[in-house]
């Protein structure tokens, strides 16, 4: 089959780009173990307040785990618990969040932490807070009349 030289070039370019993009996603998922923040952990949404770790919202130090702290968030219409939290700079933190009522969003503006909180499911993300500053946590799933008032603050401070 005769093929123009240019056609060969752009076919190689296109297929090459596809292979590179998919490999990056594949390595991230299967080698580095990245997964969606909501991954198979469930909870009874009516008993959130009585179940660990959600009976103690806020930043909790943990020992013997891959991360140093657990940052526990409970969302409900129309606020987050805790409303403000301080995280030491450079801390490896597992952020754990769930909702007691409807679907809420959990986005820490300016970072990669962005998840959808669904009633009955626990969302988790492990990250290292390596940049100082104040970060706004906002709800980015419309949850009702007070949706726009729903926010929290994470302060990353040197300690």
């Amino acid at each position: 089959m005769h093929m123009h030289k240019f056609e060969k070039i752009w076919l190689i370019f296109g297929i090459g780009a596809l292979v590179v993009f998919l490999s990056v996603v594949g390595v991230s998922a299967f080698y580095l173990g990245n997964k969606p923040p909501s991954c198979l952990t469930t909870i009874d949404p009516e008993k959130v307040d009585t179940q660990a770790p959600f009976n103690k919202p806020g930043l909790n130090k943990v020992e013997g785990k891959e991360w140093d702290y657990e940052l526990v968030y409970v969302a409900s219409a129309f606020f987050y618990n805790p409303a403000e939290v301080e995280v030491p700079l450079g801390a490896k933190v597992k952020v754990m969040a769930t909702t007691k009522d409807v679907i809420h969003g959990f986005q820490v503006a300016g970072t990669n932490i962005n998840m959808m909180l669904e009633p009955g499911y626990v969302n988790e993300i492990v990250t290292t807070f390596d940049k100082e500053g104040e970060y706004l946590v906002v709800c980015n799933e419309y949850c009702g009349t007070g949706h726009h008032l729903m926010s929290s603050k994470i302060k990353v401070v040197k300690k």
Binding site: H4, I9, W10, F13, A17, F21, G110, T111, N112, D130
Partner: protein, 49 residues
């Protein structure tokens, strides 16, 4: 008597449309745009915590 057109020796001139330069340029323009935007978003992702 009318002549049939079939036996004329005249050759129809075909315009040469085999040049793919313009196509190549537009394909590469789009391709480079896609790569640049993908890579910049990927590095933005890596840079944030």
């Amino acid at each position: 008597m009318a002549k049939t057109e079939l036996k004329t020796n005249k050759k129809t001139e075909i315009e040469d449309s085999s040049s793919l330069k313009g196509t190549m340029a537009s394909v590469m323009f789009l391709g480079i745009f896609l790569v640049v935007t993908w890579v910049s978003v990927y590095f933005l992702f890596l840079d944030r915590f």
